[in-house]
């Protein structure tokens, strides 16, 4: 190690040439967050896993299916999202780590010193998390589709993007990936703990839906029906709800899904502004 050379170098003072520094704002904060995200290997591992799940699960299903009967275009589109639950979890972990790692490592002090606007930093982080989610969604879907186009054709089914229900399924599912990224960023800010944020999402995705759907309690059933994944499913549903069935119709499904991004994010902003870093 040559750290000793530091002291043999002339004692530093002001920079020889004037240092150009520009006002710190949203655009530069986004650039900074981008450098931070891409300089961590964990980011790319999560992206790779998310893409692998996105493409792998439908590919396995299609490869092993023999006869899918007469499926609608929207249902076939649904097949391409068979890996979505995994993708959502992985994107959530990515989004959560983007914020929690700042607090757990103490980096947050540097971050908020560099960009004093707390809302500005949150917006920058949400932007980066959202862009990752968007990219994973687009690349994942395109790849899954390309890889399985032949297989689906062999099964005698196809996807028609001109079909409204199909397009709706595509947009809502892509949107849900971004919503999960936002939710995770917000939870990360609210809880400041990786374990806490990830556990909350896992609970909402894997534990609560099963439990809340079966308990004989209307309130619990309703809570289960407004969980993010349930809201997303409701939003893509083509059949109306059966009479007396607890659940959201597709319009409300979309609203509730969006609320899962907006409300936690608003809470995160309030918390971030109120609390010490």
């Amino acid at each position: 190690m040559t750290t000793a050379s530091a002291t043999t170098a002339p004692a530093p003072s002001a920079a020889a040439v004037e240092v150009i520094a520009h006002p710190a704002g949203y655009r530069r904060a986004v650039r900074s967050e981008w450098i931070k995200a891409r300089s961590l290997r964990s980011t790319w591992i999560l992206v790779a896993f998310a893409l692998a799940a996105f493409v792998g699960v439908p590919t396995l299903v299609v490869a092993n299916a023999s006869d899918v009967g007469s499926s609608s275009s929207a249902e076939v589109m649904g097949v391409l999202y068979f890996g979505l639950d995994f993708v959502l979890l992985l994107v959530a972990v990515l989004g959560a780590l983007l914020t929690t790692s700042e607090f757990t490592t103490g980096m947050a002090r540097n971050t908020f010193t560099a960009t004093p606007g707390r809302g500005t930093v949150l917006a920058a982080k949400a932007t980066i998390a959202g862009l990752f989610a968007l990219a994973i969604g687009i690349v994942g879907l395109a790849t899954a589709w390309a890889v399985n186009a032949g297989g689906l054709a062999d099964l005698g089914v196809s996807i028609d993007l001109g079909d409204t229900a199909t397009m709706r399924a595509l947009l809502v599912n892509q949107l849900s990936i971004v919503v999960f990224a936002m939710l995770a960023v917000a939870l990360g800010v609210l809880l400041r703990s990786s374990v806490g944020a990830i556990f909350t999402i896992v609970a909402m995705q894997l534990i609560l839906p099963g439990v809340l759907a079966i308990v004989p309690n209307t309130i619990a059933n309703w809570v289960g029906a407004v969980l993010p994944s349930a809201a997303a499913s409701a939003a893509v549903a083509t059949e109306p709800l059966a009479a007396g069935q607890i659940g959201l119709d597709s319009g409300w499904g979309l609203v509730v899904l969006l609320a899962w991004a907006v409300v936690p994010m608003a809470g995160a902003l309030v918390s971030l502004r109120a609390r010490d870093i």
Binding site: A6, P12, V19, A24, S39, L40, T105, R109, N110
Partner: protein, 331 residues
């Protein structure tokens, strides 16, 4: 310039900072001194807008931190050497920081060079020693070539070379007209670097003075005498108005109230044998210990009993006055 007015911070029932008012001036090195838990870091976090004051306010070059448009031009701070993602390289870390102000990669490489981290710039920060972490923190603070630098315990974990380097850096920056604000819980550290000291204890400002004034107000001078005739000499010295304190050895005493010249004369007049006679100034460390004796939150002591209030008597905590002076500027 940093100006705090009536600044307070409470964490629940703990008052970390209690109505402090002070100003940190440009062109000098200001030491921010206080025992563990005195409120130094909390004050610094409030300066940076990270902790919200419970009351009062603090400005950086006339503005609250949150209002600064280009913070890195105004103030560069090292507050937590470990506050870096352990799996990010030093260079990526600095590039991310620089990006918030559109500062060039060239400047990033410059501060890496300046802090001696060039060789390890691509290594993950988690593998750095505490001293290297400090250097990385300092590198980050210097990115925008700021008008104020503020370092919290900058020499923590640095080797002697590193300590010297920080002192020289602080000195050069101050000579350059910049505001330099360094915290430490060690007086010995500050007295070799600072021109001005602000002492904090239990969240309150105990002293805010130039090092010179501080020394005048709190340091005591005395004469160390070693003599086989110490007992007889002590009597005579006391008769002439000196105050004698027995030191570690039967033949060694410390005298205040008379100078070495007087003591030498007394010895000669009475044919007493002097083995040692030298001026000794209590170091600032001593003055500081006395000042903060009641202010330490976390003092070692016998459990269940109040910690002793007596100041340290051992002479190895003392530094000769003249050496202190020489060290302070020369570095």
């Amino acid at each position: 310039m940093i100006e705090a007015t009536n600044l307070s911070k409470k964490f629940g029932s703990t008052t970390a900072v209690d109505h402090v008012t002070f100003a940190v001036q440009p062109g000098v090195v200001t030491g921010f001194l206080g025992p563990n838990g005195a409120g130094k870091s909390t004050t610094m976090r409030m300066i940076l807008g990270l902790d919200r004051p419970t009351s009062g306010q603090v400005t950086v070059n006339g503005q609250p931190y949150a209002k600064l448009v280009t913070p890195f031009k105004e103030i560069g701070a090292l507050i937590d050497a470990k506050g870096v993602h352990p799996r990010r390289s030093a260079r990526s870390h600095l590039r991310a920081m620089a990006a918030t102000h559109g500062i060039s990669d060239r400047r990033v490489d410059e501060v890496l060079e300046l802090t001696g981290l060039t060789a390890v710039a691509k290594k993950k920060a988690g593998g750095y020693s505490l001293g290297m972490g400090q250097r990385l923190g300092i590198a980050g603070a210097l990115l925008g070539d700021p008008r104020i630098v503020m370092f919290d315990e900058p020499v923590n974990g640095l080797d002697p070379d590193g300590v010297l380097w920080v002192r020289q850096l602080a000195r050069r920056l101050a000579d350059n007209g910049r505001t330099v604000f360094l915290s430490s819980h060690l007086m010995s550290e500050v007295q070799q670097t600072a021109d001005h000291v602000i002492v904090i204890g239990r969240g309150r400002i105990l002293a805010d003075a130039s090092l010179h004034e501080f020394m005048g107000a709190y340091a005591r001078t005395g004469v160390i005498v070693t003599s086989p005739d110490a007992a007889r000499l002590a009597e005579l010295v006391t008769l002439e108005g000196g105050l004698v304190t027995q030191l570690d050895h039967r033949e060694r005493v410390s005298v205040t109230g008379l100078d070495a010249r007087d003591i030498g004369r007394i010895a000669r007049d009475h044919s007493l044998w002097l083995a040692e006679l030298r001026d000794e100034s209590t170091s600032l460390e001593d003055a500081y210990m006395r000042l903060t004796a009641d202010q330490t939150d976390y003092r070692a002591g016998v459990p269940g009993r109040p910690a002793p209030h007596s100041r340290r008597q051992r002479s190895d905590h003392r530094i000769r006055h003249d050496r202190t002076r020489a060290f302070r500027r020369g570095g």
